[in-house]
């Protein structure tokens, strides 16, 4: 019971800090808007209809609609990574000592931190749904219900990765490096921002071994499914590079989720283990 209460209060602090921090809230909203409208509308004409010629009814998936799930994913990933490595802030600003010297074990600390980060990750993902009507994406209740647990799982995995990286880091100087040299490349080679069609083979391999790919894929599936597209268009998606194919087999949502869950389980296990090492 004590452990559960401790996890709760560490979780609560994370959420409270997120909600109180205006700049983080604004950032988690402003960044995707920028991407969606500048990047999305700028490239849209060049990309044309992504499913053109595949569906006679002209199932309209333009580029902006295509990257929308990717941008939600990107936002969740960046927010989660930040939450995870914020453990380094706690260390640098002294608060971590207060936590570490309390009569609770470090597994509890890592779990509380990760669950807190996952919760704020879900919030950062869901917030973006308010942009959906502006780009002609419709929202259904079923879609939201499916998105919440999925976003949580994605966020949990990446927050764990953040905690893992932050567990031994002594200063915040490395933050930018991690964001730009680990997370951004993972996002770029995941199919979040461009269709995975006609990729050079080395890139294709990177995309397939990148766990983020399997986080973006189900997001896209859930959101596209809610758009009332004809079944024939949905079936075409992998072929159009809008879905993941592994060894000629179109990866299903269940498989996506299994892959992220496995990745998340490994990350949290290693994070807890690293965090338990005492100086």
């Amino acid at each position: 019971m004590h452990n559960l209460r401790a996890i709760y209060i560490i979780w609560y602090r994370e959420v409270l800090r997120f909600l109180r921090n205006r700049s983080r809230l604004v950032g988690s909203f402003g960044r995707p808007i920028l991407f969606l409208f500048i990047f999305g509308s700028g490239l849209s004409p060049a990309m044309g209809g992504l499913t053109q010629g595949m569906a006679p009814e002209g199932g309209g998936i333009d580029f902006v609609k295509f990257i929308f799930p990717g941008i939600i994913g990107m936002n969740v990933l960046m927010g989660s990574m930040m939450s995870g490595i914020s453990i380094v802030w706690d260390r640098e600003f002294g608060f971590l000592k207060e936590i570490l010297v309390a009569p609770i074990n470090r597994t509890v600390v890592a779990l509380g931190k990760t669950l807190g980060g996952s919760t704020t990750g879900v919030i950062q993902g869901l917030l973006l749904l308010v942009l959906a009507p502006l780009i002609g994406v419709s929202i259904t209740a079923e879609m939201v219900v499916k998105l919440v647990p999925l976003l949580f799982l994605i966020s949990f995995s990446i927050t764990s990765l953040g905690v893992l990286i932050g567990s031994r880091m002594k200063s915040t100087e490395g933050f930018q490096v991690i964001m730009q040299f680990i997370l951004m490349p993972m996002i770029f080679v995941s199919g979040a921002l461009f269709p995975m069609r006609d990729l050079p083979s080395w890139m294709n391999i990177l995309v397939k071994i990148n766990p983020v790919t399997y986080a973006i894929d189900p997001l896209r599936k859930i959101i596209f499914e809610a758009q009332g597209l004809p079944a024939s268009v949905l079936e075409m998606l992998p072929q159009a590079g809008l879905g993941v194919t592994l060894f000629g087999h179109a990866v299903t949502m269940g498989e996506d989720i299994a892959i992220i869950a496995l990745f998340g389980a490994v990350m949290i296990a290693v994070a807890v283990w690293m965090f338990n090492i005492q100086d």
Partner: protein, 326 residues
């Protein structure tokens, strides 16, 4: 058994031996002080005692619990005020204390009452709903002391409790510390590099380069220096030094401010000295030995407040008043 017992404790960081084979005990109810310059190993000792660092060798017991094998029990027995600030400045005073209370498993029924008690003790009860961001350095320190007391610890560790604070605030913090010792009857283990603060302790360990060089009550430590110290300046200090050692039989040292030597009952000695010294005296002064003199005697150096360079003082102050992080 003593409330703190330390046996041959050593902690190394790579090649550096930060704490070097120290042993001591602290009795229940004592105010025990660690006095030493920056880098002497005070914080490292506390970190080992509070289970944040593992000792390289040696052992320690707190409240009868082993510092390595019974970490959870040790942690429940102690309260800590770290050298560096450790509040969450995005939270209010109350939220900080509540966080602590839950981590220390204080039952919900007792939480509110205890929070009120400790907040009133440090006179922050009226500010309990305010964000830490709005607190001054001294208020943050007081809140940290209150927080350290929340879970009724048997020992309260205070690592440089007044570092980076202005003199008035320092005095105020000391009033709280001495008062809570009366009220809560707990053992206090504190570190400082301020001589005058060490005087408040019942017993002091003087620590330098990781070793305890002396350990006793402030009075006894001063007694080790010998008598009072007389500093004198004359027209010819060299001749005077000769005279003093031959005529009066004292060992004379030359310092920046003139010659100095130790005598018993200095105030009675001065008139006789002035009369008998066959030289013109420019100035003469007497001072009772301080802990700084004790430190000088054992290490050949002085710890002064300047020991902490102006830059470090500034840094410490900035840290205390720092803006919240994102």
């Amino acid at each position: 058994m003593a409330i703190i017992e330390v046996k041959n404790l050593t902690r190394k960081f790579g090649d550096l031996t930060a704490v070097d084979d120290i042993s001591f005990t602290v009795e229940e109810g004592e105010v025990f002080g660690f006095l030493g310059p920056n880098g002497a190993g005070k914080t490292t000792t506390i970190n080992v005692l509070c289970t944040l660092l593992k000792p390289t060798s040696g052992e320690a017991w707190l409240n009868g619990h082993h510092a390595v094998r019974d970490q959870a029990k040790v942690r429940r027995s102690i309260g800590l005020v770290f050298q560096e600030p450790s509040l969450d400045d995005q939270l209010t005073a109350e939220e900080n204390l509540n966080f602590h209370a839950i981590l220390y498993d204080i039952p919900a029924s007792a939480r509110a009452k205890r929070m009120e008690e400790v907040l009133k003790m440090v006179e922050l009860y009226d500010r309990r709903k305010d964000s830490i961001k709005t607190f001054s350095g001294g208020m943050k320190r007081r809140l940290e002391i209150a927080r350290g007391l929340m879970h009724y610890p048997r020992v309260l560790f205070l690592d440089e409790p007044t570092l980076g604070l202005d003199p008035q605030t320092r005095t105020l913090i000391w009033e709280y510390i001495l008062e809570l010792r009366e009220r809560e009857g707990i053992t206090i283990f504190l570190t400082t590099h301020y001589m005058d603060e060490a005087e408040h302790a019942d017993r002091i360990a003087i620590i330098d380069y990781g070793k305890i060089v002396a350990l006793d009550t402030p009075d006894n430590l001063r007694g080790l220096v010998g008598g009072d110290i007389i500093t004198v300046k004359t027209t010819d200090d060299q001749l005077a030094a000769q005279e003093i050692s031959q005529r009066f039989g004292f060992q004379v040292n030359e310092g920046e401010n003139g010659l100095h030597f130790e005598v018993q009952k200095g105030e009675e000695f001065i008139p006789r000295f002035v009369e008998q010294l066959p030289l013109e005296i420019h100035s003469i002064s007497l001072h009772r030995p301080t802990l700084d003199d004790v430190f000088l005697k054992f290490t050949g150096r002085r710890i002064r407040d300047e020991e902490l360079s102006a830059k470090d003082q500034w840094k410490a102050r900035m840290k205390r008043q720092r803006r919240p992080h994102p």
